[in-house]
């Protein structure tokens, strides 16, 4: 039985999700865990109305994770149907049963203090497992990697 912790990180190709991915890859390296990178596919992306992100994002994400020291053998890329919040919450229950969710802090449509438009706040509200919200890009770049 594999008992190494599983870290799930949401990735959509944005700068903030890249920072979150880099942080999550560093963490999994430090704790000897497994990293699952989740890319949620919504209605518009399925229809090709947002461009073909999946192929490009996969290559970029795996490269970022490897660059942060992640063990390629312990890194998995997953494409999940749904909005980002639902797709990530699904990773917290069996059979996925992640131990930690990691997301960037972006919320382009959000208003301060509102769950609407903010995946990170919504996850923090709804998740039954710990959630790490990695600070916005310019701040997080300075922090770089976890301890």
């Amino acid at each position: 039985m594999n008992t190494s912790p599983t870290v799930v990180v949401g990735y959509d190709g944005s700068a903030d999700s890249t920072v979150a991915l880099r942080w999550a890859a560093g963490l999994t390296k430090a704790i000897g865990g497994r990293l699952r990178i989740v890319h949620a596919v919504g209605l518009l992306e399925h229809a090709g109305l947002l461009g073909d992100h999946v192929t490009a994002d996969r290559e970029t994400a795996l490269g970022v994770a490897a660059g942060a020291g992640g063990d390629p053998e312990q890194i998995e890329w997953s494409v999940v149907d749904g909005d980002p919040c639902s797709a990530l919450l699904r990773m917290t229950t069996p059979p996925q049963s992640a131990d930690l969710l990691v997301v960037g802090s972006r919320g382009s449509g959000a208003h301060e203090g509102s769950l609407l438009g903010s995946t990170s706040l919504e996850l923090a509200e709804r998740s039954v497992i710990p959630v790490t919200i990695v600070p916005q890009a310019r701040e997080a770049e300075a922090l770089s990697t976890p301890v």
């Binding site: 109305l49 749904g82 909005d83």
Partner: protein, 350 residues
């Protein structure tokens, strides 16, 4: 048979821009279809006031409604990569939900006919406290809950290409609502497996029939016949509401099923058989993003229900999915056994 059209709503407000597929032009296509039926003055257009909090809080949390209104008052924004709200979207969503209530009231007043609810934003992805999948308020759920509050039993048939996760979750444990969905799987929103059958208070009253890309109309009809019909007949609904998405059409850009507009006519006839008497069927527009297919589907669906000679498109046959139907039956049986075992053990512990 009389046609009641509760709408249109969303023809001006709730504008996501011309590149968003859930746009005002959809309603114009739908209304073109209604005009093409040639019924003219015979169509009844009831007043469609906005839904009030009493009706909305039967299916949505007050916190969510308050937050959605505040979000819109501040100008709105993108809720997720698919879903937007604008400053006028709160009112647009309340008008859409209110139109469903008006449709029910008009059917009760007329005592006959069929109601169609051409509204946007659509509703079946909206959960109790979440907007998603273009949906802000769950229009069909608001209407169904208004009926169950009066002791009525409601069948909701959802033939949109996407699973109605919101409707399912709202009525998951409600013994007065039977939810039946045919949908493409895998596809957004990622829910709708056959093993999702409802909660302890409503075991088996969620019926999901996931179908593969390319499934044709005969497969969808067989799915309802083989997986859902017995449950529907045993449930014996007082009302039948349809989450009437037309994005299972072969020309739709958001799905990969292969139905023709004529298939929706066949499905409409089939669903109409489940009504206990005339005047108990209402169809709520959900998806449908190819304007020509949308107009044709409205003509063929309503034409079939009204017994008009509209020469519907030929139904489709021969697509994949029959094996998935067999698997769905088996998955439901297994899930029912598991749920009953769990309930028995809980009762035993009690």
């Amino acid at each position: 048979m009389k046609l009641i059209v509760a709408g249109p709503t969303g023809t001006v407000e709730h504008d996501g821009g011309k590149f968003h597929p859930e746009q005002q032009a959809r309603i114009f296509s739908v209304m073109n279809g209604i005009r093409a039926l040639g019924l003219e003055d015979e169509v009844i257009y009831p007043q469609t006031p906005k839904a009030g909090l009493t009706d909305l809080t039967r299916v949505h949390s007050l916190d969510y409604l308050t937050e959605l209104e505040a979000f819109c008052v501040k100008g709105g924004g993108d809720i997720d990569p698919d879903t937007f709200a604008r400053s006028d979207s709160w009112n647009a969503a309340r008008r859409a939900a209110g139109a469903g209530l008006a449709a029910i009231a008009a059917l009760e007043e007329e005592g006959e006919g069929v109601a169609f609810v051409p509204v946007r934003p659509p509703g079946h992805h909206a959960e109790r406290d979440r907007a998603m999948g273009f949906c802000l308020l769950n229009n069909v759920a608001v209407a169904a809950a208004s009926l169950t509050a009066r002791g009525q039993k409601v069948l909701i048939v959802d033939w949109d290409v996407h699973h109605g996760n919101g409707t399912q979750s709202i009525f998951w444990d409600d013994p007065d609502v039977l939810y039946v969905s045919t949908h493409q799987f895998p596809l957004f929103p990622g829910t709708g497996r056959a093993k999702e059958i409802g909660g302890p208070a409503a075991p088996g009253l969620t019926v999901n029939i996931p179908l593969p890309a390319g499934a044709t109309g005969d497969v969808v009809r067989a799915a309802i016949d083989h997986v859902a019909r017995a449950t529907i007949e045993e449930f014996s609904p007082d009302w039948v509401l349809v989450s009437c998405g037309f994005d299972a059409h072969q020309a739709d850009p958001l799905g990969d099923l292969a139905l023709s507009s004529g298939d929706f006519a066949e499905l409409a006839r089939m669903v109409n058989e489940f009504t206990p008497r005339p005047g108990r069927l209402a169809l709520f527009l959900e998806g449908g993003y190819n304007q020509i297919a949308l107009e044709m589907s409205v003509v063929d669906t309503l034409g079939a229900l009204l017994g008009l000679h509209t020469q519907p498109a030929a139904p489709t046959y021969g697509g994949p999915g029959m094996n998935e139907i067999r698997l769905a039956v088996a998955d439901r049986h297994r899930a029912m056994d598991t749920l009953q075992t769990t309930m028995s053990s809980v009762e035993g512990e009690g």
